[in-house]
């Protein structure tokens, strides 16, 4: 279960083309005689190859936002553009890792079959599938469990399967919806390093949604801080930590503490209802 955490040199990453463009996104839930404005106005761009974290207080509509971006939920206003194409349904260039790993994997399939199924749907040839599946399985450290069923694995390992499935799919943007909220702290640290590692190895663009400030700062190149509902972006924080990060070293640096402090402050403000647009909720 050891993961190679030494980052490969990051090259050929085009940080100028936008992979994902969210413009004026608004989502209002209607029904039961009242409208609930979950997301008011979100605009941000994620460039190809970036690892961006979205952090917000609980109830900030993070999941709503992610479901809108992934095309699982219709937007009320504004648009989501992936690879230059407007998202109206789940787009081909996107893979989602859900928080509920136990429920998002198919218990009737083995680890290998779970990862292979989306590739089959994509129409890849058998040999190509086998190769990509094996690469993904090795990359997440599940080589020995490839033919087990998900329910025979621990929670952290199950989430690795879901991550491997998403990575093997080779999406333009990998969306992660609080993927580690349900695992214990040590597993969580391992999985965070895994995400950084995969990001380096596969040069995938990652949008990582979390409520955990430390996690957001540790993982991201940028952290988008969300306001309280109805959601807008409070701040786009650039994370200036070095590319090579380690749980022990990075988390004890002053820079990390300063960034964490700053984001924390923003979240506290958000909780108290501070809004950059001056509106009231």
């Amino acid at each position: 279960m050891s993961i190679d955490t030494t980052p490969a040199p990051r090259e050929r990453i085009d940080t100028t083309t936008p992979a994902l463009d969210v413009r004026g996104l608004k989502k209002v839930y209607t029904g039961h005689g009242r409208d609930v404005e979950a997301v008011r106005n979100l605009t941000f761009t994620i460039r190809s190859g970036e690892l961006v974290c979205i952090v917000g207080p609980s109830g900030a509509g993070k999941t709503t936002l992610l479901r809108c971006i992934s095309g699982l939920l219709d937007v009320t206003d504004g648009e989501v553009v992936l690879d230059g194409k407007k998202v109206t349904e789940p787009p081909p260039g996107m893979a989602v890792v859900f928080q509920e790993y136990g429920r998002s994997l198919f218990p009737w399939l083995t680890v290998r079959q779970n990862i292979e199924l989306p590739l089959k749907e994509k129409g890849l040839k058998k040999a190509e599938r086998a190769e990509k599946v094996q690469t993904a399985i090795d990359a997440v450290g599940l080589t020995d469990s490839a033919d087990a069923h998900p329910w025979q694995l621990s929670g952290g390992m199950q989430q690795r399967v879901a991550i491997a499935r998403a990575v093997a799919y080779e999406p333009s943007v990998l969306l992660m919806d609080e993927p580690f909220a349900a695992v214990d702290a040590q597993t969580r640290a391992d999985l965070e390093d895994l995400v950084r590692d995969l990001w380096h190895k596969f040069k995938v663009t990652v949008l990582f949604v979390t409520h955990d400030i430390d996690e957001a700062v540790y993982l991201g190149e940028r952290v988008l801080v969300l306001s309280h509902r109805p959601t807008v972006i409070l701040e786009d924080v650039k994370i200036t930590l070095p590319d090579e990060r380690s749980q022990l070293e990075t988390r004890s640096t002053k820079e990390f503490a300063d960034l964490r402090h700053h984001v924390y402050e923003q979240i506290q403000k958000a909780k108290q209802g501070f809004r950059p647009d001056g509106d009231t909720a």
Partner: protein, 272 residues
Amino acid sequence: MTTAATTAPERRRRRLSGSNFALGAIGLFSIGALLEILPRIGVMDRRFFPPSSEILTMLLRQLGEPGFWTAVGQTMRGWAIGLTIAMVAGVLAGVVIGSIPVLREFTASTIEFLRPIPSVALIPLVVLLYGTKIQSALILIVYAAFWQILVQVLYGVADVDPVVRDTARSYRFSRWTQFKQVVWPTALPYVVTGFRLAAAVALILEVTAELVIGVPGLGRNLGIAQSSGAVTLTYALVVAIGIIGIIINLFARYIERRVLRWHPSVRRDVAA
């Protein structure tokens, strides 16, 4: 963090089921012994309650008769054909109705009205239509078993986890793949439960049709034995039908375990 199952609980379970089996055998034997002694000492009237050894002897003698096996074959054939028709019809109807919300709403009250009608209430009708032909039994079986299966399939199809559905959608599974890889495996435990219930009900209705209408099979032999005063044979045939019931139930459970190896109700090992 290994995938290997711990064998300790498994062994414990096996030992438990082993002792259960021994206890059950002892219980069965005790009741057999009681039913042997009571008629012999005159507590029970021997004319109507022959000792269990006589019943058993009669049953063993029946096993040597070709006519008995013909009747077993007829009963099993009616059961199998009826159950197969009910399974196919129930699963198809369940999947179609369950996948189309409008259709589900549209049929809901009709199903709730038709389902509680006891199949035996159709006996006068099938006698008029088919007399003692095998079709009479089949209609009763299919009617009784169909609802068992249909209702289970309807529940099963509706039980797809929203996260699984989102996963399938986000990976752009085609409708067919969604059905094959998501809806069907989700519904399968329900389908198998429906199958198990239907298998038992089908035997009841097959024997009822034989006994009441006179469709050829063990049930008809039972009726003839009873009306000709062959009390011991009557009991022997009842025991034979009971054994068939047990075999059918074991068969259904075997199928269940085979099909649902991955399901929490069947699988043995879950790491935390």
